[in-house]
Structures are given as structure tokens and as C-alpha cells.
Symmetry: C2
Subunit: 221 residues, 2 copies
Amino acid sequence: MPVGLNENEIHVLGEVVSHKRKIQRGGYLHRAGSKFQSLYAIRSGFLKTCILEQDGRQQVTGFHMTGELLGLDAISTEIHTCDAVALEDSEVCEIPFAKLEEISRTIPSLMHHFHKIMSREIVRDHGVMLLLGSMKAEERLASFLLNLSRRFLIRGYSEYNFNLRMTREEIGSYLGLKLETVSRAFSKLQDENIIRVDNKHIQINDMTRLRMKMGNSSCIT
Amino acid sequence: MPVGLNENEIHVLGEVVSHKRKIQRGGYLHRAGSKFQSLYAIRSGFLKTCILEQDGRQQVTGFHMTGELLGLDAISTEIHTCDAVALEDSEVCEIPFAKLEEISRTIPSLMHHFHKIMSREIVRDHGVMLLLGSMKAEERLASFLLNLSRRFLIRGYSEYNFNLRMTREEIGSYLGLKLETVSRAFSKLQDENIIRVDNKHIQINDMTRLRMKMGNSSCIT
DNA sequence: CGTTGCATTGAGGAAAATCAAGTTGAGTGG
DNA sequence: CCACTCAACTTGATTTTCCTCAATGCAACG
């Protein structure tokens, strides 16, 4: 979160971030239906958020990594609308939302920054809607891989080699595809020598052609 | 917007809302790429927002009616990410965002309310993602009609009879379907006597069965 | 070393896209 | 007022894409 804040502001913000929480792989950060108190800033690890329908239908709404903020959806009703599950051992900072609002009154730049973060989430969701609404399986997967790649790069990891933390089924849920379709799309991209797949490990051989696979360049954040 | 504000607060907010703007049917409230200055509260009318890709791909990201707030996506980069087009003659209030932030510092309930609105938009988008990711054509259309119906009801119109402001193609874009598929889904629902379709006019004959068509009840806002 | 969960692959089928007419209705101009 | 145009809609035939079902592979783990 601390971007565009001066040292004093960061100090004040530090007061708010009450305590850290560790979540084991497979553990829940929060569940749909639970009371909302705090936002969570991811310190390390990897989580997914998903909504679960009464009829069993499930949809992964996002994969989240270090530096991202979780819980924004719950502000509106003060009830979490989704589950947040750790896909690997993770650590988060709890940010009591009431305190955040209080402090942001005295630190305009903090408030503004927070608004930008919420807005970015909306933009991201619109990107996913475009993906789900108008792309074919292979395009969706290409888009997904490029998005991951970029986020790893930003965090100082290789953009060409990384490990997926999620299963094919979770990828499929996020992309609106069945796991078999995801698997086939991986195989196809591998056959074309665009990527190399070894179980959860992905190597991107030809970034340019991967980008071409999706017809558009507006990546999802 | 004014919900949960006292009279004084509303008065102050009134100062912010600088001027009203009329947009003719077919006209643009804002275009993707244009500089963001203000949010827009819809006073009357009906608009769509859509993102347009370089390759011509288009996605309607939402249909918006009286009382809703437009422009939230642009806060993050201060550039509008989508077009907003009036589907009928509409009137909006311009709310300079810088002023809104400034005033919300002195009116905590206004700030909190604004956060809820942004959060609700995120929840809505997640609902659309679920729809696009896991529903069939007919389920999507049922979900869409029920959502419209509810929003008309809230605004004091009939939940059983209403006119669509958008074309089949726009519905299709929003729902991730082609216009022919939308048309067929309409016909199918009509054949089953669940709705009556006459061009843009929709009559819902059997709300219960329409609800059953979509397997879940979490409506999109 | 069998179990278990995840992944791959193939065959067949269902859903939606695409292609192709035709229809309707609103608006325009003769 | 009628013919004309154009855009939006409907419907049918065909093709593509993805889903479903089923078999198999494969690594991790007790």
C-alpha cells in the first residue's frame, strides 16, 4: 500500500496495521458470510478469492499476491461476499477498516491512494469481464499467463519462469473453463513452442507470440 | 447518493455538485482515454458503459440507471477506461472528484458512504464474473432480466413490464453472447410462457419460474 | 506399494457461434 | 400516403468450440 505517502504518513499508517496473521496453505483468511472488520494487505504468499453459490456453482474471482489488498468487496455490506483461501503459506497485515477511514481523514494522500486502489480493482474486474465475455479458451489462458508473468516481474521474480500455485481446476474456474479445457490449452501452447509446461512449472519461451495469442494487450492487474 | 446523510451534509454535498449535464440518446458522457475530473450521478435516463479493444472487440461492462454513479473506474489512473453512452436522453450531475474527496474529509459519513458505493460496484462485477464464467445462455438472460426487473421496481416502476433500452447486440455483449443467441433465448423463454417479448417490451409472466431458470438468486446490482 | 489427488488425452455430444435468409418497424422522401 | 431504406430482430442450417465422460498417467505420501 505505501506508495505516494511520506514518512510521517507511513508511520501513522503503521499504527493502524494492528497485527500480522499467518495463514497456512489451504487455510481461510476469511469466509463468505463472516463479519467484515478489516482489510488485509498481503505481506507474502498467494491467495485466491472465490464466491460459492447455493447450487454448488463456484467462481474464483481472483488470485492475489504480495502487496495486494483483500476485503474491498465486504465494505458495502460489512459481510464478506467471498472466501479467501491461501494457496501457499501466507502472511497478511490486518488493517481495521474503521481506523483506516478515521486516519485517512487526516491524511488526504492516504485517502486518495485508497480510492485509487479500489478503483483499480474495478478496472481489473472489467478486464476479467472482457476476457470472460469475448475471448476463446486459448486467448484466456494466454491472457492469464501474461498477467501472472507481469506480476511476478513487478515483484522481482522471473517473468519467464514461475510456478503456478493453483490447480487446473482453479484456473478454469477463474477463466470460465473446465479443467480439461485448460489442460488442452496448455498442451496446445506447448506444442507451438510458445511455453513449456511441466506440471505447475511454466516457462515462457516466446513472449511475443504469447501476446499475439490474445489479440489485445490490456493486461489484467 | 444521499443515503445516510443528514440535512446539513446533503447541503454541503449540494455545493459540490457543480452542474447538471444533459446527454442526448446516442451521445457520450465520456470516452475511454479522456481525462477524469468528475464522477457522474445519473438523475434520469439510461446509459451503458463499454470498453473497446484495439482489435475491435467490445464489451459492455454495465447498464446504468437513475441514482447510479459513473466514473469510478477512472479514479485509479485519472483516465477514463470506458465509454459511457446514453441509451436514451439522460441527465447527470457532475461531481468533481477532488472536491468530493476534500469534503468527505469533513463528513465521515459521506466518505464511508462513498466507500460503500465503490465496494458495491466491486461486488456487482464479481456477480457478472460468476454469470459469465459459469452460466448458460438462458441462465444469463434470466439473470439479466431479473436484475433489470428489480432495479425498475426499486425506482417505482413495474417489475413485470418494462422496455429494454438496449439492443440485442448490447445485451449480448454484456452477457458474453452473440445477438442471435440472445434472440433465441428470448424466444425460448417466451415459448415456455415465462415472459412475453414484443420487440423491446418485456412482460414477465412467471417470476418464480424465471428465477428458477438461473439456479441462483444472487442478483447483480 | 497401494492410495489419493491432480493432470493429460481421447471420443462423443451439447451449446453457442457463424453464416444466411427473411421479417419487422421506424423514419425518410417522393 | 405510400414506397423505400435501414437497422434491428428472428429463425434455420451448419460449424466450431467447449463440455462431458472415461481411461490413463504420474508424483507425493502414508
